[in-house]
């Protein structure tokens, strides 16, 4: 009987001792789908792939930082542009994982899609060790993205009105070329000049390529940049109209919205005017 009790006490003591170590082990783990990322493995990957820009301490002060016109992300500040969570909150693990795989267009951050899922998850686990914020705050709840309605001409025209009303044009320019009157004054959280997105240039947005991604961008904002969240300003159905209108500004990217818009006289003239340019520069963009 006494022996049994001793065993019970020993078992309890062992369990109590094991708990903190279990917690420590789990602290360096993240889960993306069926993949579990481990920070210790991610550390080795970070010091292979990432430190040149993001720095040894994850503060964005890598040896290449001074030479980049868009400074590398400061993981210590834990402010992230691409999120599915409301502005001001931490992103989900999936958000970070997607960002690593997608890269950031128009910056030096490439798409790391050629790394394995495990490697990308490991990287994310390690990135989260740089900021104490991950210990005190929880990621925000992903915003709800309602089902996308079919694009209509009326919707596109309504989106255009919103583009004016919400003063998107002040930064992005009246034609979406990133040349609005405020564009030259904008700075990011590093107090570096930042250029608003030029819709006429490419097919990729900063945080994805789909309409769903575009919806999330202006409903969550791009934290660390002047791009605010419009979640409190516009209703979801209005937001979709804005999405459909913004697609028509991408005159070099085929989309159903652009096709619809080009069926109108106004749209056809707009696209024609946008495509008139000078000599190709080899940038892939007709100036």
């Amino acid at each position: 009987m006494r022996a049994n009790k001793s065993m019970q006490w020993m078992f309890l003591a062992a369990a109590l001792l094991a708990l903190p170590s279990l917690a420590i082990a789990q602290q360096g783990e993240i889960h993306v789908g069926k993949v579990t990322g481990h920070s210790d493995a991610g550390k080795q990957l970070y010091f292979r792939f990432c430190w040149g820009c993001h720095g040894f301490r994850g503060d964005g002060n890598g040896e290449n930082g001074p030479y980049l016109n868009i400074l590398p992300r400061n993981f210590v500040a834990a402010t992230f542009k691409c999120r599915s969570t409301p502005t001001g909150t931490l992103p989900t693990d999936e958000d970070l994982y997607d960002s690593v795989g997608r890269g950031f267009t128009n910056s030096n951050m490439p798409a790391w899609i050629s790394l394995t899922k495990q490697q990308r998850a490991d990287m994310v686990a390690f990135i989260k060790t740089f900021s104490p914020r991950w210990k005190t705050d929880k990621p925000g709840d992903p915003i709800n993205v309602p089902a996308e309605p079919a694009a209509t001409l009326d919707g596109i025209k309504h989106g255009k009105e919103l583009f004016t009303k919400l003063e998107c044009w002040k930064c992005h320019g009246p034609e979406g070329r990133g040349d609005g009157p405020s564009a030259s004054t904008l700075t990011d959280s590093n107090e570096q000049p930042i250029r608003p997105y030029n819709f006429a240039e490419g097919s990729h947005f900063k945080c994805g390529t789909t309409n769903h991604d575009l919806y999330k961008i202006f409903m969550t904002g791009l934290d660390g940049t002047p791009m605010p969240s419009f979640a409190d300003v516009i209703k979801p159905e209005d937001a979709w109209d804005l999405v459909h209108y913004l697609r028509t500004l991408q005159v070099n990217h085929k989309s159903p919205e652009l096709a619809l818009w080009m069926g109108t006289k106004e749209g056809a003239e707009f696209v024609k005017a946008q495509k008139v340019g000078g000599t190709p520069t080899g940038s892939g963009i007709k100036q």
Binding site: C53, L115, Q118
Partner: protein, 481 residues
């Protein structure tokens, strides 16, 4: 076929002297101020590794290379995408005007080479003598000038003027690539001189000594040597040699799935068209798959089908090869990762037409009993990447003749008549070494390279027809900027 040691340095050298020199070099290396390396909190041939890309994109060598020059899948993907990251900032219009996409690579070195049965005939007496010949000394490698990058979005180039250590230059590579045609990564076209799409790249080989190269990529049966017994095959072909032609290739976004098909001038990459009115074909396919925390595994297959002339015809205007006969090399390969330990495995089956195999012009009668030679070859190369700054390398390679071109008659090899044994010309090769990179940066690369290699080939000693063994010890300071 491996290279011969220079016969101009016939002198026996005690091992002790060699060890002293090695010790001196290692000591000198240890005295290098490598404080920048200690700041890194990580526990601590001819090569295409291009720091100009590191400078352009601000990435350390280790981003694209497991340990340079060996590519990892990210580097492979970058190469497959026409040297583009795909972030809309690849075209030179986005670079500082002063950016110059040029890198240089060279390896000052000390090396010792030895062959056990060299022809060391005494010129005074004329008595044929076979004996050990050892050479050693400080030396230089050749130099590669690596220029590569994008000319415009989806149009890239690679130009590699390379010199031997005598500073005579040739174009190792010179090609233009059109990427993502029809907006698809599955259609890319490259034209010019380029390395065959070998996933186990000889241009990114991790061993540098004279006998440490891939035998498998250059093997030709010993019966193809010139009838005077000199070790120069009548026709030359190496899958490791860069070839001139056009290549169509494609890949998935992450380069897990890859294919390429090339149409090549049949002259082993030589400029000009002599011997080159025939065309060769090279096909390859590979598929990678993830294996959890072990890493990315890849398997693939390749086939090279070519034709080579059996005699040359010349006039005052033209030289050309005639009597074309066929040859092939085909096989499988695998890249296997067990976390920090990885293996590269390759199997190749080779075969030459009987005229090529015996060095017989197609208009001449074949030697009695001649047949097309065939052989099997393979290797396993192991790397243990302790961290991006230190890698251990080992490779064992073998080549086995499965069918000799000439009848087997025990005795000494008689060119054009017989071979002495069924295993005549078989090769066993072993190489091991390490590379240590005292710093990793996005500007330049530097490695201390130490390696030992030994190659034995059956029955090819020049006088006795016994086995011939070469070995090489190599210490080099491999730098690229």
């Amino acid at each position: 076929m491996f290279h011969w040691a220079s016969s101009s340095m016939k002198r026996r050298v005690p091992w002790l002297a060699s060890l002293l020199v090695c010790g001196f070099l290692v000591l000198a290396f240890l005295l290098i101020d490598s404080r920048s390396a200690s700041a890194l909190p990580v526990p601590a041939g001819k090569v295409y590794a291009i720091p100009a890309f590191g400078r352009k994109y601000g990435m350390p060598c280790s981003a694209c290379h497991e340990a340079w020059p060996k590519l990892n899948n990210f580097g492979q993907s970058f190469k497959d995408n026409g040297y583009q990251m795909g972030n809309d900032r690849d075209a030179p219009i986005f670079q500082q005007p002063a950016y110059w996409p040029v890198s240089f690579r060279m390896t000052p070195q000390w090396h010792r080479q030895s062959v056990d049965r060299a022809d060391i005939t005494n010129p005074a007496t004329g008595t044929p003598v076979e004996g050990r010949l050892t050479t050693h000394g400080f030396d230089l490698s050749g130099m590669d000038i690596l220029t590569a990058g994008t000319l415009a979005k989806n149009i890239s180039f690679l130009l590699v003027p390379a010199a031997g250590n005598d500073a005579v230059f040739a174009f190792e590579s010179a090609n233009v690539r059109f990427s993502n045609l029809l907006k698809s990564s599955w259609l890319n076209i490259k034209v010019g001189k380029f390395e065959l799409d070998n996933m186990i790249s000889e241009k990114r080989i991790m061993t540098l000594s004279d006998f440490g190269g891939y035998q498998i990529y250059h093997f030709q049966p010993a019966t193809e040597f010139l009838p005077d017994g000199s070790f120069t095959p009548f026709y030359t072909f190496g899958m490791g040699d860069n070839q001139i032609g056009a290549e169509v290739s494609g890949h998935s976004k992450n380069s897990y799935t890859r294919y390429s098909a090339a149409l090549l001038s049949g002259n082993d990459g030589s400029v000009g068209v002599p011997n080159g009115h025939g065309y060769d074909t090279y096909l390859t396919f590979s598929q990678a798959f993830e294996a959890g925390s072990l890493g990315l595994q890849r398997v693939g297959a390749f086939a090279y089908i070519g034709r080579a002339p059996t005699y040359l015809a010349t006039s005052s205007l033209l030289t050309d090869g005639f009597g074309q006969k066929s040859f092939y090399r085909a096989g499988f390969f695998g890249l296997w990762y067990l976390k920090k330990l990885d293996f590269m495995t390759m199997y190749t089956r080779g075969g030459d037409n009987v005229f090529l195999g015996t060095g017989t012009p197609s208009f001449s009668p074949l030697p009695a009993g001649a047949q097309g030679p065939t052989w099997n070859a393979g290797f396993i190369e192991t790397h243990y990447t302790v961290n991006p700054q230190f890698i251990l390398v080992n490779r064992y390679e073998l080549i086995r003749m499965s069918r000799q071109a000439l009848p087997i008659t025990p005795g000494v090899f008689e060119p054009g008549v017989s071979v002495p044994s069924a295993n005549f010309g078989d090769i066993d090769s072993l190489v091991f070494g390490y590379r240590y990179y005292p710093f990793i940066s996005s500007r330049a690369g530097f490695a201390f390279h130490n390696e030992y290699s030994v190659v034995r080939q059956r029955g090819v000693a020049p006088l006795s027809g016994k086995d011939l063994t070469n070995n090489s010890l190599f210490l080099g300071f491999d730098f690229i900027f």
